[in-house]
């Protein structure tokens, strides 16, 4: 039976078991929207700005194990998605973005709402396609899902001209796919794995350094078993939070620019580093020249060979899917695991560092942002999905909300995109209906996608917005205070809206919380009485609160500025 290209698009999505698409209609995708209208297997969430569609699809993916899908029109529809695509690309999030394009005969004519989608998105996608013939459509979409979800995952864009969606064609969805140019490695090299296990058992001062790759590969369970078996300390990157339970004794906290004293020191002074799905980036190890000692040995497991020995020379590289490699390592360790007795001394050293209590923060008559996050953790019993925007509040969330499970911490770590928090909350709720979701944000970030409160009303998405409002672009202000002699250039936000009224105007519940003693009752009310409402909680916080510890840009991991040193 011949069906239209638009119907093929929908059928392909159904074949991929897509249950939800985030999008915004327009001229070039009208045929696809018409096909969408005629079915009821796929739900569509109409956002208020295409950027939010991509962020929501991204969070849908991050909070589940499924590929998020966004659907937008040509031209401005596509250009509005670029920030979202780049965000997903930097964090290796599997996602498929379907874009309308002007009819093939118009391409290159500067037609209305035309842009070079493949050209514009090329540097920030894992791959992209322009489908010029309806006969290629199903195969291309199959490839897009395959590429997005395998190897090192990433966003894939499929650009579909309007005439292609109108043309008729037989539909057949390929069951499997073979691409001679794309064969990501899965299994690690057994010889290398054996070598790694050997090195681990020789370690005197070991550290397991786990990143987002553990979460993407759904290997949190294997990682935890491995760490338990070896009794080694574990640190997570910002993207890796939840890969190892934060409440466990072996967890030394997040490392990096705002990592704990114990995590950064342990990383620096370790003699063996087991890096798992992490990439030694600048926010994690600071200046590579200042990083660690010559004698140390690094084992690096990553599915992407280009992440290995990119910034730091690695001694035992293992290319492969993290879960598969960890399985192999566990098998080897199950046959006999003997670690060095000196590791006990290392633990004593780590506990000394821990005693420094680097996350202690000053008390204030105002609400401290750290306190809000701590109380949020208690009120939600650590079970909430936490999305965040970018800035001080993001770091407070990462430091003070203890993530015991993977895929609960949803933030833009790589690109650092302000404005993701609220659409991320939408994506999480579409993938996990009924789950408690809080968006920790600031008055700067939240205004970058605030229009999505309208979408939340339409689809009854009860995100709890925790607005840590200091009337400042806090992280910018912090850097200006510390490195620019307190010249607060453009970091003060004046003429803020009344967020309570704004939330109410969108049909939601607004709260303004100004006193520390009101924090807990307000949070409790939001998560019980207003369980099913979007609640905008405007916390007026201490404007001077800063994020500590801090490793200044270009410094080494041990050159931390601690709270009391200022």
């Amino acid at each position: 039976m011949m069906i239209s290209g638009a119907e093929i698009v929908i059928k392909c999505l159904q074949e991929e078991k897509v249950d939800c698409v985030f999008g915004y209609p327009g001229g070039s995708v009208l045929h696809i929207y018409d096909a969408l209208f005629k079915q009821d297997l796929i739900k569509h969430v109409l956002v208020r700005h295409e950027q939010a569609a991509v962020h929501a699809a991204d969070a849908y993916s991050r909070s589940s194990q499924r590929v998020g899908v966004a659907l937008v029109t040509s031209g401005p529809g596509v250009t509005n998605t670029v920030t979202g695509i780049a965000t997903a690309y930097m964090d290796s999030i599997p996602m498929v973005v379907l874009c309308g394009q002007v009819p093939t005969s118009y391409i290159g004519q500067d037609a209305f709402q035309e842009c070079d989608t493949v050209g514009i998105t090329r540097p920030c996608v894992k791959h992209n396609f322009l489908v010029k013939d309806v006969k290629d459509l199903a195969l291309t979409i199959k490839k897009a899902f395959h590429i997005a979800a395998t190897g090192r995952p990433g966003p894939v864009v499929v650009d579909i001209p309007k005439d292609v969606t109108a043309q008729m064609c037989e539909f057949e969805y390929p069951k499997t796919i073979q691409m001679r140019s794309y064969n990501p490695v899965v299994k690690g090299h057994l010889g290398q794995i054996k070598k790694a296990v050997q090195v681990l058992q020789e370690a005197k001062r070991p550290i397991i350094y786990a990143g987002g790759g553990v979460i993407l590969s759904d290997a949190a369970e294997q990682l935890t078993r491995l760490a338990k078996k070896l009794d080694f300390p574990v640190t997570n990157t910002l993207m890796g939070l939840g890969a190892y339970p934060a409440t466990d004794r072996q967890f030394v906290g997040m490392l990096g620019m705002h990592g704990t004293f114990e995590a950064n020191n342990a990383m620096h002074y370790a003699d063996v580093i087991l890096a798992v799905g992490a990439r030694f980036d600048d926010r994690v190890i600071g200046n590579p020249e200042h990083f660690g000692s010559e004698q140390r040995r690094i084992i690096h497991i990553d599915v992407d060979p280009s992440s290995i020995s990119k910034r730091v020379k690695v001694d035992v590289p293992i290319v492969g899917n993290v879960a598969d490699v960890l399985d192999e390592m566990l098998k080897l360790l199950d046959t006999g695991c003997k670690t060095d007795p000196e590791v006990a001394d290392w633990w004593k050293q780590i506990d000394t560092w821990r005693g420094r209590n680097s996350l202690a923060y000053r008390q204030s008559n105002h609400i401290m942002p750290q306190y809000v996050v701590e109380k949020l953790y208690e009120v939600t019993a650590g079970e909430a999905f936490i999305t965040s925007d970018v800035g001080q509040h993001q770091m407070f969330a990462a430091q003070y909300y203890k993530f015991d499970k993977p895929r609960r911490w949803i933030n833009s770590g790589g690109l650092g995109t302000m404005g993701v928090g609220l659409p991320y909350g939408m994506g999480v709720l579409m993938a996990n209906p009924g789950a408690p979701v809080a968006c920790i944000t600031g008055e700067g970030s939240i205004q970058m996608c605030i229009q999505e409160m309208s979408t939340c009303k339409q689809y009854e998405l009860p995100v709890k917005i925790i607005n840590l409002n200091n009337g400042m672009l806090g992280m910018v202000r912090q850097w200006q205070e510390m490195f620019y002699s307190k010249r607060y250039s453009q970091s003060y936000v004046s003429s803020l809206p009344d967020f309570v009224k704004l939330a109410e105007a969108y049909g939601h519940v607004g709260m303004r919380i100004e006193k520390p003693e009101d924090v807990v009752p307000a949070l409790q009310k939001a998560f019980t009485e207003h369980k099913n409402d979007l609640v905008f909680m405007d916390f007026i916080i201490d404007p001077g609160a800063n994020v500590f510890p801090m490793v200044a840009a270009g410094k080494g991991l041990t050159e931390m500025i601690l709270a009391e040193e200022l």
């Binding site: 493949v118 050209g119 090329r122 540097p123 894992k126 791959h127 322009l130 590429i147 090192r152 691409m179 001679r180 140019s181 794309y182 992407d304 060979p305 280009s306 020995s309 990119k310």
Partner: protein
């Protein structure tokens, strides 16, 4: 260090821009780049001459391998290989220079492939240093125009780059 990187890539629209975009985005050098379809028309073969430290070149090959359209990548300069470049050079050829140009072309085993009353077009093939030497040997004032293809190369003997 100078490296010659050979790439087999799906012969699809935009493939070249994926490769050149990768080089510019990551700040790698392209000294020259040549590309054309192979005997299997679904594949293109690209030769890139680049300069960089071993670490950088290792990253370049890894990043190229990551491109979905790329089928194979080889650093030809890692082992025995031959390389060639083609140049066409248009020179003024009048009076006594006319004979001199002919002689120089013969010495360098080039060929004159276009003749007018006042000009020659000389075709010359060789490795890049030979082409450079030819240009240096001519009186610069007589050179009207040069065009070079950039380096292409192939492994010696059993070193074969094929799908």
């Amino acid at each position: 260090m100078r490296h010659i990187i050979s790439i087999l890539i799906e012969n699809e629209a935009g493939a070249l821009s994926r490769v050149s975009g990768l080089f510019s985005a990551r700040g790698y050098n392209i000294e020259s780049l040549t590309v054309a379809p192979t005997e299997d028309e679904s594949l293109s073969r690209m030769t890139i001459l680049t300069v960089g430290s071993d670490d950088v070149v290792e990253q370049i090959t890894k990043q190229l391998n990551k491109l979905v359209d790329v089928v194979k990548v080889v650093d030809l300069s890692e082992a025995a290989h031959v390389e060639r470049e083609l140049m066409m050079i248009k020179v003024r050829a009048t009076g006594k220079d006319r004979e001199e140009m002919k002689r120089m072309t013969d010495i360098f085993r080039g060929r004159i492939i276009d003749v007018t009353e006042t000009t020659y077009v000389i075709e010359l093939t060789g490795d890049s240093t030979k082409l450079d030497a030819f240009i240096a040997a001519l009186d610069g004032g007589l050179i009207l125009e040069t065009v070079r293809t950039g380096v292409c190369g192939i492994g010696r003997g059993d070193r074969i780059l094929k799908v």
